[in-house]
Every structure is written in C-alpha cells, then in structure tokens.
C-alpha cells in the first residue's frame, strides 16, 4: 500500500506540491493527471524516494520513507519498477543487459535463467530477438518498451510510469497502453501512471487523481472525471484552454 500525507514541496518560491494526501491499495491502477508543470512527476519521484519532501510523509507498506538514507531506500525501491519519460536506458549496455540489470545484481539466478527471463520479458513487450541491440539503435517506442521490460523483469509489486506515451504516435501510444494493462493484469502489480494523454488515462486507469495547484483537485473513476460538471475538470479532459487562466 502507498500513502502520502500532506506532502509539500517547493522549488524556491514556487510551490509544486501543496499538501497532497491519498492512499493507493495493493493491485490498484491509478492514473495521475494534471497540466504540464503541475508537479505530477515530482509527486512520482517522492513516492519512489528519489526526492525528499519539505513536509509531510510517504508510506510504503506502512513504512515511512522520508527520513530513510539512500541505502535504506534501496531496499524499499526493490518493490518498485519505474518507466521513465525518456526510458532512461543505460547507453553503454545492450537491451539484454539493461533488462537483466537487477537480476544480475541480485545474484540469485544463473546466466541461463537470466537470459530466459530477459527473453520472456521481451516477448511480453513484443520485442523478441532484440537482446543484442544497443539503446541507440532503437526507436522511441521501442525504447519505452525496453524501459518497461527493464521495470518488470525482476517482478516488482508496484510499477510506476512517468508519461509513458509522451512523444509517441497514436498507434504506438495505444500499444504502450495495452502493454500497461497486460502487465497490470498478468503480474498483478499496483500501477501508477502519470500522464496528460486523455485517451491513455481513459484506457489505463481504474481511478484518476487530477492534480491542480499542487493539490489533488478530484479523485474519482474515469467515468466521474470524464462526465464531470466541474468546468475546470471538463476543460482539462476535453483539452479546452482557458485563455484568461493561462495568461495568453
């Protein structure tokens, strides 16, 4: 279970998180949405312990992580898999080495078992036979899929996705969404997806958190969000700009 309690974070005078509180139970698929720069990725980095809040708490399976040092966090992070916006693959390693990175570090599997797991995971993300390629040889969509394969290869219980479809064409975006759903169902993981792609949020999420001005503005099902009578929510999900608000 993941819980945030009154999470606050500022960069200089800019308040990015202003008292965020929510709870995600095991096996849930949650989508966090909000305008560009509203702090979605910052929130995600707090959940996985890559950033420390100015105030508030983050609990993973009931354990507070905000005062942990880097080595204590490593143990907590082994529960997580994360797909980065840029995929963040290690340039110097092959696809197979990227995917098997944690498995080799853990030292619990033989080389043959790791190779088998890598092949199986690549099959799951529909990229069989790409083990020997370097990240530089892959397209944007392929890199995201390898990033996803790396995030799930060691079977974490929570997978977080930071803007998984940003910069991809609609067909590849659809394929990534389907992969997220497949991973969630097959591996029974808790999924947290940060996105501002409305098609993606409707498909992937069972629950949506809409962030605005550093707070959770609405917490509801996709139906509630997409049928909301609130003009702010409605404008966001339908992609209609408020020129006054954005100060154009």
């Amino acid at each position: 279970m993941i819980e945030t309690r009154n999470l606050k974070k500022s960069f200089g005078s800019q308040k990015v998180l202003d008292g965020i509180s929510f709870r995600i139970t095991e096996g849930e698929s949650v989508v966090i949405i909000g305008g560009s720069g509203c702090g979605k990725s910052v929130l995600l980095k707090h959940i996985i312990g890559l950033m420390t809040p100015d105030a508030g708490d983050v609990l993973i399976d009931g354990q507070s992580i905000v005062n942990m040092n880097e080595r204590e966090l490593i143990r907590v992070r082994s529960k997580f898999g994360m797909l980065f916006q840029s995929a963040a693959l290690f340039d110097s390693l092959t696809v197979a080495e990227n995917i098997g990175f944690v498995l080799r570090r853990q030292g619990e599997m033989s080389d043959a078992e790791i190779a088998e797991r890598v092949a199986e995971t690549l099959e799951m993300v529909e990229l069989p036979g790409t083990e020997k390629k370097k990240p530089a040889e892959l397209s944007g969509g392929m890199r995201k899929r390898v990033g996803l394969a790396r995030a799930i290869a060691y079977r974490p219980s929570i997978v977080v996705y930071d803007e998984p479809t940003t910069g991809l064409d609609p067909i590849v975006s659809d394929a990534i969404d389907q992969l997220i759903i497949r991973v969630s169902e097959r591996l029974k993981v808790t999924s947290i997806v940060v996105t501002h792609d409305t098609r993606s949020m409707r498909r992937v999420g069972k629950r949506i958190l809409y962030m605005r001005n550093g707070k959770v503005y609405v917490d509801g099902t996709p139906e509630e969000i997409f049928n909301s009578a609130d003009p702010i929510v409605s404008r966001f999900v339908n992609g209609i700009a408020d020129l006054k608000e954005h100060n154009f």
Partner: protein
C-alpha cells in the same frame, strides 16, 4: 554583499558535498560488493587508453629537461649530472604530476561528461530505482581503477622520461654513457620512485572523485554537461598542483632517508 555571502556559502556547501561523496565512496569500497567487470573496464579505459599521451608527455619532458640541465650544468662543468637530474625530477615530481594532468584532461573529462550525461538523461535516477546505489556502481569502481592505473602510468612516464633524457644526454650531447648512468644511479634512490608512485595514487583519487562529483552535480542540458566537464578538468588540475606541494612535504620527508 548578499550575493558575495551567498556565493561563499555555495562554495562551502559544495566542499561539504564533495567530502560526503568521498566518505561514501570510501565506505562503499570497504563494505559493499565490488563490480569487478566494471573496475577492469575502467582500468582499461583510464590506464591502457591513456598510455599514448603519457608516453609522449614523459618522453618529451625527459628530453627537454635533459637539454636544459645540460646547458645549465655546463656553466659549472657538471654535465655528467644531467641524467641524474632528469631521473630524480621524473621520479619524484614530473612523472606523477604530468601524468596526472594528462589523465585528468583525458579520462577525468570523459568521466565527468559520461556521468553528467547520465544525470541529465535520468540514467542515474534509473539506477537508483533499480535498487543500486550510484556510488557503488559508478563512483567506487572509477576511484579504485584510477588509483590503480595512475601509479602504473606514472611508472611508464618515469621510464620513458629517463629513456628520453638518456638519448639526449648520450647521443645528442655526447656525455659518456658510463658517467651518465653511474651518476644517475648514485643520486637516484628508491624513495624518489616510491614518492612518485604514492603521490600518483593520491592524484588518481583526486581525478576520479572530483570528476565524478562534477558529473553527478551537473546542471541540466548540453550546456550543463559542457560546464561540468570543464570544471572537472580545471578543479582536478588545480587540486593536483596544490596537493602535490603538501604531499611532497609530507610523503617526501617521511620517505627520505
């Protein structure tokens, strides 16, 4: 005034962060699992790949030093001491310092640029999410590899420098090779060699930790990577020159008979 204080505070903070990184690296080297394949890869990259620059630097420094020493010694009719001066200088000062400056420019810059690029492309964050401490996987192997490679490179620079000096002394200035060699053996001793090799290991630690620190704290964007790389080379080079004085005063005195 506030801006000056803020800048000074920023510098103090940076020194503190550097000290923490050094301490974490030391603890990692003592306690954590070693990535031997990464260490060997780094020894190859820092050591083997830097050989050509170190050989050229060592050879020409030895030759120039021999030429200068011959001219100056000629005034007091001590030309046969030329190779002895080249040997002592190469072993205790020029070998370690010039090798370190060359490695700092080649491998240190590459290290800062690689780690900086990893930071701006979120690869360092990715490493942390994959339950791996960046110090264990990225910094400790580089520090260990640089402090192993540096004494070996320095030894090469010393040998090549003395060789270059010998060629100039014997074949260009026609000093009798027996005198040149005998004086070199007479005035050079083990402590000169140990002095140079121990210092070079320290310089290896300085190059790798300074370059890693600059890379890990690189500002965002391509400009940030360029800035971090430049700062790494400048900071490492200055640190080498300053620390050389203190190392000479401490190790040199400790080793001297």
């Amino acid at each position: 005034m506030n801006a000056v204080l803020r800048r000074a505070w920023g510098q103090i903070e940076e020194v503190g962060q550097y000290a923490i990184l050094c301490w974490e690296t030391f603890l990692s080297l003592l306690k954590e699992k070693k990535y031997w394949s990464e260490i060997l890869h780094q020894i190859y990259f820092i050591g083997v790949k830097s050989q050509s620059v170190v050989i050229i630097t060592g050879a020409f420094t030895g030759m120039v030093l021999a030429a200068q020493a011959y001219i100056q010694f000629g005034r007091v009719h001590m030309e046969t001491g030329t190779l002895a001066l080249v040997s002592v200088s190469m072993c205790s000062e020029l070998g370690p310092v010039l090798s370190a400056l060359m490695v700092s420019g080649r491998a240190g810059a590459a290290m800062a640029a690689e780690l900086g690029t990893m930071r701006v492309t979120e690869q360092i964050d990715a490493l942390r999410t994959l339950a791996t401490h960046p110090v264990d996987y990225l910094i400790a192997p580089r520090v260990l590899a640089t402090s192993i490679a540096m004494p070996l490179l320095t030894a090469i620079a010393i040998v090549v420098g003395i060789g270059g000096g010998y060629v100039v002394t014997v074949y260009v200035f026609h000093i009798d090779k027996v005198y040149a060699w005998a004086n070199m053996i007479k005035y050079s001793s083990n402590h000169h060699v140990w002095n140079g090799l121990i210092k070079s290991a320290f310089f290896g630690v300085i190059i790798s930790t300074v370059s890693a620190f600059k890379g890990l704290n690189c500002p965002q964007g391509a400009e940030g990577v360029g800035k971090a790389t430049t700062e790494a080379v400048v900071a490492a080079s200055i640190s080498i020159l300053i620390s050389n004085f203190f190392l000479t005063m401490s190790i040199g005195r400790w080793l001297a008979p």
